[in-house]
């Protein structure tokens, strides 16, 4: 059963990394990409179906990850979609703030691609066996 992911990430190569992990593992999940929070909100408004899971970068131009998260969590329709943070920051404040607003996970992007691929693989396999609210 394929899942639909929304990846919100301004860096093109980061998006490529995520896509490559999906491809290399032959997952049949659907990936929607958005370059920043504003674009992501547009995607969410225009799509009839909501994504099953959102992967969110924190450091982005225009609307950053935290701002997007706050809007998402204050929206009655969207608040039930789990959000996993993908960030280079392991800063305590970032962790605390995002968990306070409400996230389902927090991944610190490792330097090495192999490590990254491994982490994303684990994530996807974990969420594949989860029960999610379908609408």
């Amino acid at each position: 059963m394929g899942l639909t992911f929304l990846l919100i990430e301004d860096d093109e190569i980061e998006r490529l990394k995520f896509t490559r992990v999906l491809q290399k593992n032959n997952y049949n999940h659907t990936l929607i990409e958005a370059e920043n929070g504003e674009k992501a909100l547009e995607v969410l408004e225009n799509n009839k179906e909501l994504p099953d899971l959102i992967f969110l970068d924190l450091n982005m131009p225009k609307m950053n990850g935290l701002e997007f998260l706050k809007i998402l969590k204050s929206n009655h329709a969207l608040r039930y979609t789990p959000v996993v943070i993908l960030s280079t920051s392991s800063n305590h404040n970032d962790l605390k703030e995002t968990y306070e607003v409400g996230i389902a996970g927090y991944i610190v992007k490792p330097l090495k691609y192999e490590d990254y691929a491994y982490k994303i693989k684990c994530l996807i396999e974990y969420w594949s066996v989860n029960e999610l609210i379908k609408r």
Binding site: D11, E14, K17, R20, T88, P110, L111, K112, Y113
Partner: protein
């Protein structure tokens, strides 16, 4: 004849009558005289009684007089002395003659003579004050009032004097004056403004008070405390003053402003103490004021500086955070792209290309380490974490378990490590960096690293000793500077020891090293016992 007889008889008759009358008058007169004599006698007796009475009265006064009484003739020979006089001068005129001149203190002789002439000329003198010799007690200072005694021809026949010994009184007075002088010297030269007040009225001020306010003492004596205060602040101190008047407090301290003569004001710390009468009512208040305008200004500036510092510290931290984050992202991209090149073109690339890609990956790795180091360095901050009791024995044991130690190296804790007050993260970082270095740069077949601690007066002195390569003396200062590294190994970023130094500085400690090249190094550092 008979006629003649008749005439004679009648004349005789008349004469008889006249005589009888005269006799009667005489008798009356003599009776009167007797009565007068009798009355005179009575009066005389009464007078005599009175005199005796007065004399004995006088005798009593004279005898009981606390002051010395001396009666002398006009040549200065003492005729009479009362008991006090005998006591004072030590002479008994019943046993030896005494002339007053003998008593006059040498240096006061002239003054005594002048006074005596005044006595003769004017009949008395008062408030004569001079020194006298006494038989036993040496020199005494006395106060004398004297007067002449005249006979009925208004000629002087004697002089009398009341003498009071004021030696002790004078001494007391001198001591008192001296103390008063000392006290006023203190008060006058005090840098604190001092004022004596009574129910808001200013009674006395010192120089400092006058110069603080810009008024003269006389001007201030016309003022009340409220005239030199700002209204609101006066009300506040007035309520304290009321409590003092009510006997609730004896002392209070306020910071208030005083208005100077030129209308400007200054802040002063004011301490007010009550001086009470025996019944507890307020006699007056003593106010000590100290100009704290500069001090307050200084505090204000300091607060501002601290705030600015906090702000720029936070900005710097945020900056380091953002910058390192922004730098890390491209490194991740580079790593991914290089990895993909290796994966996707594994067969196309020759060994040389693979080698270059690997070297690139290593540089990316080193760059990442550097950035992490900067982030760590900038996140070590005093205000970040609460202070707790930290058991260093546990901390260091944990580190030894966690860090990678090759089989040929051993780390031993050779003295029990203490519990110190601090935050866990920074103390852990401190030991971990030093131990990591000791492990990393050990070049011996059997590496031995020891951790020990010694208690000094006010601090703990720690030592981490290794038998590694040693560090040349010329680098001992340099190694604590950020980005300074002594080798070209990929992992060394030059941040580790600068973090160590920063942490030790935060704990007000010192760090130094003793090293011999080829033999090994000992890093010493101190942490305060009480923080």
């Amino acid at each position: 004849m008979s006629n003649e007889l008749e005439i004679l008889q009648r004349a005789l008759q008349r004469e008889k009558a006249a005589r009888k009358q005269a006799e009667q008058i005489l008798e009356g007169k003599s009776k009167e005289l007797y009565q007068i004599t009798q009355e005179l006698k009575d009066a005389n007796a009464k007078l005599e009684d009175g005199l005796t009475e007065k004399t004995s009265e006088l005798q009593g006064v004279f005898g009981n007089l606390v002051d010395a009484y001396v009666l002398m003739d006009i040549s200065g020979n003492v005729i009479k002395m009362n008991h006090s006089a005998k006591e004072l001068f030590g002479y008994d005129i019943n046993q030896e003659k005494l002339n007053i001149v003998k008593l006059i203190y040498k240096e006061d002789y002239e003054y005594a003579m002048t006074s005596f002439q005044k006595l003769v000329a004017e009949g008395s003198f008062s408030n004569y004050q001079a020194r006298v010799y006494t038989k036993h007690k040496g020199v005494r200072t006395v106060h004398i009032n004297a007067s002449l005694i005249l006979n009925n021809k208004k000629q002087p026949i004697a002089a009398q004097g009341i003498v009071r010994d004021i030696t002790e009184e004078l001494e007391q007075k001198q001591i008192f004056e001296e103390q008063k002088k000392q006290l006023s010297a203190i008060v006058e030269n005090s840098s604190l403004g001092i004022a004596l007040t009574q129910f808001g009225k200013i009674l006395q001020t010192n120089k400092a008070f006058q110069s603080l306010l810009g008024y003269s003492n006389d001007e201030l004596l016309q003022k009340e405390v409220k005239n030199i205060s700002l209204k609101d602040e006066y009300l506040e101190s007035a309520s304290k003053m009321q409590q003092m008047n009510d006997g609730e407090i004896d002392y209070f301290s306020v910071n208030k402003r005083y208005v100077k003569k030129d209308g400007s004001w200054f802040w002063a710390k004011t301490n007010v103490a009550a001086v009470r009468n025996e019944d507890g009512s307020i006699k007056y208040q003593v106010a000590l004021i100290e100009d704290i305008t500069e001090q307050l200004e200084f505090e204000k500036q300091r607060d501002k500086l601290v705030k600015n510092l906090e702000k720029s510290n936070k900005e710097l931290n945020d900056y380091a955070h953002v910058v390192s984050h922004d730098l890390k992202s491209p490194l991740r991209s580079m790593n991914a792209l290089l990895t993909w090149l290796q994966e996707d073109y594994a067969e196309v690339l020759d060994a040389n290309a693979h080698n270059s890609l690997n070297m690139l990956l290593k540089k990316v790795d080193k760059m990442d380490h550097l950035i992490s180091g900067i982030l760590k360095y900038s996140s070590i901050d005093k205000v970040n974490h609460p202070k707790q009791n930290i058991a260093l024995q546990d901390i260091v044991t944990d580190i030894i378990d966690v860090i990678h130690i090759p089989n040929h190296i051993t780390i031993k804790i050779i003295t029990e490590l203490p519990v110190v007050i601090g935050d866990k993260f920074s103390l852990q970082q401190l030991f971990q960096n030093l131990l990591n270095n000791a492990v990393k740069y050990n070049d011996k077949e059997q590496g031995v690293i020891t951790v020990s601690c010694e208690q000094k007066d006010e601090f703990w002195e720690f030592a981490i000793t290794d038998n590694g390569a040693g560090i040349s003396k010329k680098y001992h200062d340099k190694i604590f500077q950020i980005f300074q590294t002594l080798d070209d190994k990929n992992e060394s970023t030059g941040v580790g020891l600068s973090i160590v130094k920063k942490i030790v500085d935060l704990y007000d400690g010192k760090i130094w090293l003793v090293s011999e090249e080829g033999i090994g190094t000992t890093f010493y550092f101190t942490l305060k016992n009480k923080i």
